[in-house]
């Protein structure tokens, strides 16, 4: 394809077929693809901010004692790292960017059900994000409570907790509205022939996620309002000297924040379920089981929050019940892993960048999930709770899981929307560096946790020094890989070789329309005649 041809293809795409240009054609657009890219750049921008903060944390922990900052700065740093990564990147990230970009096309729709509400969600998200950022530079300085905002500490610290929780509260509405929008869209706007059992698994996972967003987020909102009321009005709801209960706060917080972990991981599982079959040229193994397991995780995952609290002093009966339910929720995750691996069997596997990130997701998520069994069992959790073991486990699931799936999705879908692609070799190099650095960083953390190093420690005993240095070295390898990936990916998307047609050989609907897609998505309304992974049926070799 020559340059002129690319330009003519781009002219008939959503980039300029409406004839509108300039910033207002983006920030006031109701096109799901433009909103998707708005979400992508805003959430991914915050991801990079979070990465920088994380690297600073690792530099401080490189050696015992003061390395580059004081204790108060360090405490603010890990708090802001957590708040930014969780509330500004990973919760809104997948649904907002790839959910918006891909889901309506995957079901054969022109747009989501409520396009203006969709734009409004992004605006609410940005307003919330600005409030969170404002909390860093005003009042008593950035919050120093950890992203969990545990009372009574969060009620008495002099830092700017109230403004930060207000920001998170506002962002919550964005999450609820996106959830409502997606549930309605998937119910009402599926094209003719797009039955429930022909939905791509990414869309299935967004459907399960959307329900958690609708049902769980209001509880976080209420909890955060109560924290603010505790600080500003002195309500005493969590203060034992006034009849309150600090452990009740933890229940309320985790009633949302554990299901939120599934908001973060389910779309990632969906991406992997879409990518693995495409690069194996084989239907996904056990489609219905994977779809059901997403719903099972969404349902059972809402009932396991107490496993964050085995040592809190809640009753042993509660420990018994929550430990049992936690192990139950492990089963649907295991089913997914087995199904992904079996999909590879007798396929024709191509190890291109999206597949490499996808396969490493399976491995890293497995390590994270299996270390979660240690945390689910009451006896062993007590030792590793609140140590670096938890930090390692969480990053295996959230970064090795969702993060790597996000990178997979970036390499898999972004070329579709730009009509240009990245170079393959640097992408593979960046993947290899990130995979290596990741394991050096977070596996070491799990070992440190087993040895008893508590989390959120600014300083530590000399016995932990060697492994902390190793972990910090890992963080630099990881960062080097990330830089190469970003340069290669974005250089490719903006100036790279043309990307047209269906080079991966996907059978889902987004691969049947022009690249980049036109604003209307489908020139004629599609009629779906085959399943999402029926490669033979859709004429892919």
């Amino acid at each position: 394809m020559t340059t002129e041809n690319i330009q003519s293809a781009t002219q008939h795409s959503f980039w300029n077929d409406t004839g509108k240009t300039g910033i207002s054609s983006w920030i006031f657009s109701t096109d799901h693809k433009r909103i998707g890219l708005l979400y992508f750049y805003s959430t991914f921008g915050f991801f990079l901010v979070g990465v920088l903060l994380g690297l600073l944390i690792r530099i401080e922990l490189m050696a015992p004692g003061r390395t580059i900052m004081g204790a108060q700065t360090y405490n603010a740093l890990f708090t802001v790292h957590g708040v930014v990564m969780i509330f500004l990147f990973i919760i809104p990230g997948f649904q907002g960017s790839f959910g918006n970009l891909v889901m309506p096309i995957q079901i054969g729709a022109r747009d989501v059900s409520f396009p203006r509400l969709n734009l409004f969600s992004w605006w609410i998200y940005m307003i919330g994000a600005v409030i969170v950022l404002a909390s860093l530079f005003t009042g008593g300085g950035p919050p120093d409570t950890g992203w969990t905002f545990y009372v009574p500490f969060s009620a008495r610290t002099g830092t700017n907790v109230s403004l930060a929780v207000l920001g998170v509260f506002v962002i919550g509405f964005s999450s609820i509205l996106t959830g409502l929008n997606f549930v309605t869209t998937i119910h009402r706007l599926r094209a003719e022939g797009m039955t429930w059992w022909r939905l791509p698994l990414f869309t299935w996972s967004l459907y399960a996620t959307a329900w958690i967003q609708i049902l769980a987020t209001p509880i976080l909102a209420i909890t955060l309002v109560l924290v603010a009321a505790e600080r500003m009005l002195g309500t005493g709801l969590f203060d034992p000297s006034r009849g309150g209960d600090p452990v009740m706060y933890q229940h309320l917080f985790w009633i949302y924040s554990h299901p939120a972990v599934y908001i973060m991981i389910l779309p990632a599982m969906g991406v992997i379920s879409d990518i693995v079959p495409v690069f194996s040229r084989k239907p996904i193994f056990g489609y219905k089981m994977i779809a059901f397991s997403s719903l099972a995780i969404a349902a059972a995952g809402s009932l396991v929050w107490g496993h964050h609290m085995y040592t809190s002093g809640m009753s042993d009966t509660a420990v018994l019940v929550f430990s049992f339910l936690t192990f139950i929720v492990a089963i649907p995750s295991a089913i997914k892993v087995f199904n992904w691996v079996t999909t590879l069997y007798k396929g024709s596997i191509s190890l291109e960048a999206p597949m490499l990130f996808g396969l490493s997701f399976i491995l890293l998520f497995s390590i994270g999930g299996l270390s979660g069994l240690i945390l689910g069992a009451a006896a062993t959790d007590v030792h590793v709770h609140d140590t670096h073991f938890v930090v390692g486990h969480f990053h295996y699931v959230m970064f090795g899981g969702t993060g790597f799936a996000f990178f997979a999705a970036m390499h898999y879908w972004l070329p579709k929307f730009y009509g240009r692609r990245y170079a393959e070799k640097p992408a593979v190099v960046s993947w290899a560096l990130m995979f290596t650095g990741f394991n050096v960083l977070y596996f070491t953390m799990q070992v440190l946790g087993m040895q008893g190093m508590p989390r959120r420690y600014y300083d530590y005993l000399p016995e932990f020094a060697t492994l902390n240095l190793v972990a910090t070295a890992g963080s630099w390898i990881l960062a080097a890989g990330l830089v190469i990936m970003l340069v290669n990916l974005f250089r490719g998307l903006w100036w790279g070789a043309p990307f047209e047609g269906n080079p991966w050989g996907g059978a889902t609907l987004e691969w049947s329309i022009p690249t980049p897609p036109p604003t209307e998505n489908f020139i004629v309304e599609p009629v779906v005649t085959h399943g999402p992974y029926d490669f033979k049926g859709s004429g892919i070799p």
Partner: protein, 306 residues
């Protein structure tokens, strides 16, 4: 003496770790090996076309639902059973009360003896009653696999038994602010005889006439977590040269300049929120429960610190 030796918390918990780690290792190696074998064997260079388009297999699905279910239920039950060991204090355990505050530990014994390290006799179960003076802390003994949050207004406890004499780390595990990582001390396990000697010595917070070491107290009460003795910046004003220093304080919202003297030092320890030094947060907990001798010793130490 009871002839049957106590099962220590470590002996109860470690086999659970071994069991879960072992099972996880087998699963992880299996998953990794299967992935690697498939990726190599069915790479597009060797398998240009897929040789199967199978969409599922009911029996395989049943197998990998049932087997993991049995496995995780075994982990659950084993974990629960040994958790009960942590929760069941053996009869006749010695009781110690641990008071956690930002950012220090204080252990008090039945006879009134107080200490900043947790001294215990070897071979005797120790029940630690956990009391929080301000925010939530965590009582964590890695060597004994014991952890319990210290929650304001809620009676919590933990128990352990030291099998051999020695010094073991004691960490605060629940994030509690600036001095969180400095809120560490040790368990000192002494042979029974030595422990009795220690317990009886210096009973009730000091023999009359014996000089209390102010410097030691300042360290033990956690003051140094925020106030440096050498002039380096911290969460609170440095102790170095504090006596006689002219400083701006905020009293009920209005600024005034004072000169630090004996009375101001005493008031800042027992009622720190009254006059807060400008530029610092009003977060210091009140130390109203110090004895007169202890307060005298601390103030004397501060006044002498040039």
């Amino acid at each position: 003496m009871d002839a049957t030796r106590l099962i220590s918390t470590t002996e109860a918990i470690d086999p659970v770790f071994m069991f879960i780690f072992g099972a996880c290792l087998v699963l992880l190696l299996g998953i990794t090996a299967a992935m690697l074998i498939f990726v190599v064997r069915y790479h597009r260079s060797r398998a240009p076309q897929p040789t199967s388009q199978v969409e599922g297999n009911l029996w395989l699905e049943v197998v990998w639902i049932v087997l993991p279910t049995l496995l995780v239920l075994a982990m659950f039950w084993y974990g629960w059973k040994e958790y009960l060991v942590l929760r069941t204090v053996p009869p006749g355990a010695m009781e110690v009360t641990a008071t956690a505050r930002m950012w220090s530990w204080e252990f008090s014994y039945a006879n009134g003896r107080k200490s900043s390290k947790l001294y215990v006799p070897v071979g005797t179960a120790v029940k630690v009653n956990l009391v929080a003076a301000d925010v939530i802390h965590g009582f964590f003994l890695p060597a004994f696999r014991v952890k319990r949050d210290v929650v304001p207004g809620m009676p919590n406890h933990a128990w352990f038994v030291a099998g051999t004499a020695g010094s073991y780390d004691l960490f605060c595990s629940q994030y509690c602010g600036t001095g969180h990582s400095a809120m560490i001390t040790t368990v000192e396990a002494l042979p029974a005889g030595e422990f009795e000697e220690w317990l009886e010595h210096d009973r009730g917070g000091g023999d009359k006439g014996a000089r209390i070491d102010g410097e030691k107290l300042v360290r033990e009460k956690g003051c140094l977590g925020c106030h440096s003795p050498d002039g380096s910046p911290g969460v609170g004003p440095s102790f170095k040269g504090i006596n006689g220093r002219s400083t701006v304080v905020i009293t009920k919202g209005t600024e005034r300049t004072i000169t630090v003297d004996d009375a101001y030092l005493r008031q800042s320890i027992t009622e720190p929120a009254v006059d807060v030094v400008k530029g610092f947060q009003p977060i210091m907990p009140a130390f109203g429960d110090l004895s007169k001798e202890e307060l005298d010793a601390i103030v004397q130490y501060l006044e002498e610190l040039k």
